[in-house]
């Protein structure tokens, strides 16, 4: 039996607890933290790629002074390309791995928790389905691009420092290296490309994948890929048109910054030029609206769908 003082202490502690509420920001912080605990590939995959690249780069450092002397004889454009090449390659490699991790993450995000029944634990806590889905969508749309930018910039900086040391040791001035690899500018381009394209421009893809992962009872990858292919095929057979395929293709392959400059690979070609045009392009906003629809559907499905 409860004594009256017990009851009072109890009701007091409850009203205190009532006043203590969890702010949405704190909730999102812990939800994202949770995703990072579960999906360590979000940071381990870029770090592993960077580490592997660095090993190759360090081995190739032996020939660097000779290459720099050779580059000095080239014209300014070729010089820029030759010196900047390893820096572009590592950025591109990290972008590819970022994209693969994002796709894999989305397909697993709302499917795995139903398969291993842990959704019963998550749902026993005071977090809504919408908050959960939004926190999961923030991984491919924001967290992964930012992690990848950080890893890319750190790797490029390390490459510059090590290269400069090697050049200084062999009596070649590292000044040319720093003029052709402007780290600040390069990082900015990298940031805009990853956050803008990989995060926001590709968002409808992540929304679609998250929705499928909330819906599929098995094989989410097949469910994510077959229906778009089927729509394209049916359209082609029935109407002999390919509007759907063209729409998907133009959004994901022909984004409005990919005006490839003539010549080889340079960091500048990754920049969405100009930024104003990107922000104002209807494709971006239509894409984000479509993403919102997919994410809303994913949250509804998470509420309705049971265990697998």
């Amino acid at each position: 039996m409860n004594t009256p003082s017990n009851v009072m202490a109890e009701s007091q502690s409850r009203s205190e607890a009532l006043a203590l509420d969890i702010s949405p920001a704190r909730q999102v912080y812990w939800l994202v933290q949770r995703e990072l605990w579960e999906n360590r590939s979000i940071y381990l995959a870029p770090l592993a790629v960077a580490a592997v690249f660095m090993v190759g780069f360090l081995v190739a450092l032996i020939g660097l002074p000779a290459r720099m002397r050779a580059a000095a004889a080239l014209g300014p454009m070729q010089q820029h390309e030759a010196i900047g090449q390893p820096y572009v390659i590592v950025a591109l490699m990290l972008m590819v791995i970022e994209f693969l991790v994002a796709v894999y993450y989305c397909l697993e995000a709302l499917y795995g928790e139903r398969r291993d029944r842990s959704i019963l634990f998550w749902k026993s806590l005071p977090v809504s389905d919408v908050t959960t889905v939004l926190s999961k969508a923030s991984i491919p749309m924001l967290v992964l691009p930012l992690v990848t930018v950080a890893v890319t910039v750190a790797t490029q900086f390390l490459m510059l420092v090590v290269s400069s040391a090697v050049l200084a040791g062999s009596g070649v001035s590292p000044a040319m290296l720093w003029t052709h690899v402007p780290l600040f500018q390069t990082s900015l381009i990298n940031f805009v490309h990853l956050v803008g394209f990989h995060g926001l421009w590709y968002a409808p893809l992540y929304g679609w994948l998250l929705m499928v992962s909330a819906w599929a009872k098995r094989a989410p990858f097949l469910w994510a890929t077959l229906p778009p292919l089927a729509i394209g095929a049916v359209e082609k057979i029935a109407f002999n048109t390919s509007y759907f395929a063209a729409m998907v293709q133009s959004h994901f392959l022909g984004s409005p910054g990919s005006v490839t400059p003539a010549g080889g690979m340079t960091m500048e070609m990754l920049a969405p030029l100009p930024l104003g045009q990107f922000v104002l392009s209807p494709g971006l906003w239509i894409g984000l609206a479509v993403t919102a629809v997919f994410l809303f559907a994913a949250a509804r499905l998470r509420r309705l769908r049971g265990l697998i």
């Binding site: 409860n2 109890e10 502690s13 409850r14 607890a17 009532l18 203590l20 509420d21 969890i22 704190r26 909730q27 912080y29 812990w30 939800l31 933290q33 949770r34 605990w37 579960e38 928790e113 291993d116 029944r117 842990s118 019963l120 634990f121 749902k123 026993s124 806590l125 005071p126 977090v127 809504s128 908050t131 509420r303 309705l304 049971g306």
Partner: protein, 291 residues
């Protein structure tokens, strides 16, 4: 105000009727055992109560609609589905940090104190723990939440007898410290009967029996009838009869001890015996009704 109030709860999965107009009321501070055969609708009923499944009918849990207000409901309600739902990748310390981060009524110190009494190490991952340890961890989390209602669905499934006993001991200790409402659904009737204040039997989506344990103790008597008194005993309308070792055991409702003691040895039936008696009575009626 009742902690849980359900009126005419219905839920179907295709042609299968899981809940068939279930009515149920649980007052604050009770420990209710929900007992039923497989497929009776226990899990569906509990899932509806914690907002995991939609339903037809009226349902009010701690003053809220579970289906439309699950997020707010879960500040006041804790739920343990069964032993396998804690994510296997999670570390013990991460589980505590996460719940502390998102639950406004979680007391980390209390969970730590509970875990300190066990052999569970904070750095272990859930997948490295035994089934019994996972249940202890889940219980540590739930006990540290100042919730008004605790819903347990087969919480000790697959555990050995020592772990099961430890689980219910912890549950009772917590209950004496802070009276909250507990609903537990289980097959393992013998282990929960000393814990309960109320008992309900569920069959084919309906509550078919609902009494407090005090009522059961005062109302139900089991008699090991002397062989020569069997005719007299049967004349008193037993609700169930079964064969014991050399003697028939008859179950009576609403008769006093003195009246029955002339027939043989009188005792209070176990919940398991009561369950069998009431369920087989229902099955018998159902068979009689459809020849």
């Amino acid at each position: 105000m009742a902690c849980i109030e359900a009126r005419g709860l219905r839920k179907t999965f295709g042609a299968t009727v899981a809940l068939d107009g279930l009515d149920l009321q649980v007052e604050e501070g009770r420990i209710l055992g929900l007992i039923g055969p497989n497929g009776a609708g226990k899990t569906t009923a509990l899932n509806a109560i914690v907002g995991l499944t939609s339903y037809e009918g009226r349902l009010n849990v701690v003053g809220r609609n579970p289906w439309t207000e699950r997020e707010q409901l879960m500040r006041d309600v804790c739920f343990i589905a069964d032993v396998a739902v804690l994510p296997r990748w999670m570390r013990v310390s991460q589980a505590l940090e996460y719940v502390a981060g998102i639950h406004p009524r979680f007391d980390r110190a209390k969970a730590d104190a509970f875990l300190a009494k066990t052999t569970i190490r904070p750095a272990s991952r859930v997948r490295e723990l035994s089934k019994g340890m996972v249940t202890q961890l889940h219980l540590a989390v739930v006990m540290a939440i100042d919730a008004r209602l605790l819903v347990l669905d087969e919480p000790t499934l697959g555990l050995d007898i020592l772990s099961r006993k430890a689980f219910y001991d912890s549950l009772l200790n917590d209950y004496f410290e802070r009276r909250r409402t507990i609903v537990v659904a289980t097959h393992q009737v013998e282990e929960v009967q000393h814990v309960l204040t109320d008992l309900m039997f569920i069959d084919r989506g309906r509550i078919v029996f609902s009494r407090s344990m005090e009522d059961i103790e005062s109302q139900y008597r089991e008699v090991l009838v002397h062989p020569d008194r069997i005719a007299a005993a049967r004349a008193l309308n037993p609700i169930h009869e079964r064969k014991g070792v050399g003697r028939s055991i008859l179950l009576f409702e609403g008769l006093d001890r003195e009246q029955l003691s002339v027939l043989g040895d009188v005792r209070t039936p176990s919940v398991a015996d009561l369950f069998v008696a009431i369920m087989s009575g229902r099955r018998g009626q159902a068979q009689g009704a459809t020849p």
